[in-house]
């Protein structure tokens, strides 16, 4: 995708974001399937797997370190 295409996509996303979604239209967003980070304990065990078996731990709010000396 060209840089102009990327800019258009970002602009469209930003413009959509400016429209407030009324509370009574957010039922689908409250569905447990819709959580962007998933169930906390499931996310934690997945993150630990990837942190300890790949070289790219940390950086996104989940610190490297803090256990088992293998990060």
């Amino acid at each position: 995708m060209s840089s102009r295409g990327c800019a258009l996509v970002l602009l469209a996303a930003s413009a959509t974001g400016c429209a407030t979604i009324p509370q009574n239209r957010r039922a689908h967003l409250a569905d447990p399937m819709m959580g962007v980070t998933g169930e906390p304990l499931d996310a934690a065990r997945r993150q630990k797997l990837y942190d300890t078996r790949e070289g790219a731990a940390g950086g996104d709010g989940a610190a490297a370190g803090g256990g088992c000396g293998c990060q």
């Binding site: 039922a27 967003l29 399937m33 950086g59 709010g61 256990g67």
Partner: protein, 403 residues
């Protein structure tokens, strides 16, 4: 905290009905001021109230080989066979309407090549021989969130990690603020870890203590785009200093023997994450994830993940997951290193590799009674495999009680 603010459906609906009913009945009278929330819902209790208790147990069954392991030929690769059993406990509680608590206790029971039995007579066991001993690690983590007002929350967390040759303390501070009636949530947090552990050589003998610090700062934004779409972007920076290896990893050398791993004493990591959730018209949902990672050891990684979920009934849904990950490896990775090299590692986790994860899950939420709102059950299986000879079968099961 990156959660989407969700409508408080039962209480909101009840309050709305009451307000509509009272407004209709009083339509002929002069306008009256609306009753306060407390008059309708009652004053929230300041007592400690447990909102949910959740347990999850996960089993990791790993097979594979890596050049850092001495459980094999001198020039490797050696076995990376291991089993891990990981129970977790999470308790969510509230204290009045302004204070929320989260207690989290993960435990790892590792049966593998571990430092558990080393430095004991007759000497050097696991690091130079077979995977045999058992090692137990546990952590206690407490996070308290103060709800300053309807749009602002501040979270403080702290914890300790205990493992036989290893201690770790951590603390963090984060804040969230929502805008546009909750459509936009901006979050930021900082955290610091301090690890303190025994230093061993590659023959399994102890040489005092080593330590490292890990400091992380991150900034994120979650945006509701439509009534069925929500996205999240997060950038984080992590700086690590100190002993950054486990101290007993070894490296095959061109002199036909093994030497210790030599790593820099500092590592700066960057990660940019994009997440999106899209509700699908057939009562399903698609969750997408992409992560870009780069650090000053020369490792660049990309992870992409998609999870498709389908609701089968109001109380049951199923999900299928695929994740692809690729990394370049660190600049000084070698499976046969020069003995005079200033930096060297043969750790298979730091090698150039691709990995795949495929899996599925079933989730059930059963309503029970007014006092026990629901029982949550989740069962899942995943298969993880890497291109440099590592495979893992993962079974996981979660049970939760929502009060």
């Amino acid at each position: 905290m990156k959660r989407v603010l969700r409508p408080y459906a039962p209480a909101t609906a009840s309050a709305w009905l009451l307000v509509v009913a009272s407004a209709t009945a009083a339509s002929a009278d002069p306008p009256q001021p609306l009753p306060a929330d407390e008059a309708i819902l009652g004053r929230p209790s300041d007592a400690f109230h447990v909102e949910s208790v959740t347990t999850r147990i996960t089993s990791f069954d790993q097979n594979g080989h890596g050049y850092q392991s001495q459980s094999g030929p001198v020039l490797g690769p050696g076995s990376e066979r291991t089993n891990v059993l990981e129970p977790q406990l999470e308790i969510l509680a509230s204290q009045g309407d302004r204070l929320k608590h989260r207690f989290w206790v993960p435990v790892d029971v590792v049966s593998a090549a571990s430092p558990d039995a080393i430095d004991r007579t007759p000497a050097s066991a696991d690091v130079v021989s077979s995977a045999s001993r058992r090692n137990i690690a546990g952590q206690i983590d407490w996070a308290a969130t103060y709800v300053a007002d309807a749009v602002t929350g501040v979270t403080m967390n702290s914890g300790v990690h205990l493992e036989e040759p290893f201690r770790s303390w951590h603390a963090g501070l984060g804040a969230t603020r929502s805008f546009a009636d909750g459509d936009t949530v901006v979050s930021g947090d900082v955290s610091s870890f301090f690890d303190w552990f025994d230093r061993f050589d590659i023959t399994g003998h102890r040489h005092g203590r080593a330590d490292r610090s890990t400091d992380t700062a991150s900034l994120g934004i979650t945006q509701i785009l439509t009534a069925t779409t929500v996205v999240n972007v997060n950038y984080g920076l992590t700086l690590q200093r100190g002993e950054l290896g486990n101290t007993w990893n070894s490296v095959p050398l061109t002199t036909m023997e093994r030497g210790p791993e030599l790593l820099p004493d500092e590592r700066l990591r960057h990660a940019l994450v994009f997440r999106a959730s899209q509700f699908l018209p057939w009562d399903g949902a698609l969750r997408l994830y992409y992560r870009f990672y780069a650090d000053d050891w020369g490792l660049v990684g990309h992870a992409a993940e998609g999870e498709l979920m389908q609701r089968l009934s109001p109380h049951v849904y199923i999900g299928a997951l695929y994740r692809f990950y690729t990394q370049t490896g660190v600049d000084f990775f070698a499976t046969l290193a020069n003995p005079n090299a200033a930096l060297r590692t043969a750790d298979s986790d730091l090698a150039p590799l691709d990995s795949h994860t495929v899996g599925g899950k079933v989730v059930v939420d059963l309503p029970v009674s007014p006092s026990l709102r629901a029982i949550h059950i989740e069962v899942g299986y995943e298969r993880y495999f890497r291109t440099n000879d590592l495979q893992m079968n993962i079974m996981t099961c979660e049970t939760g009680y929502r009060f």
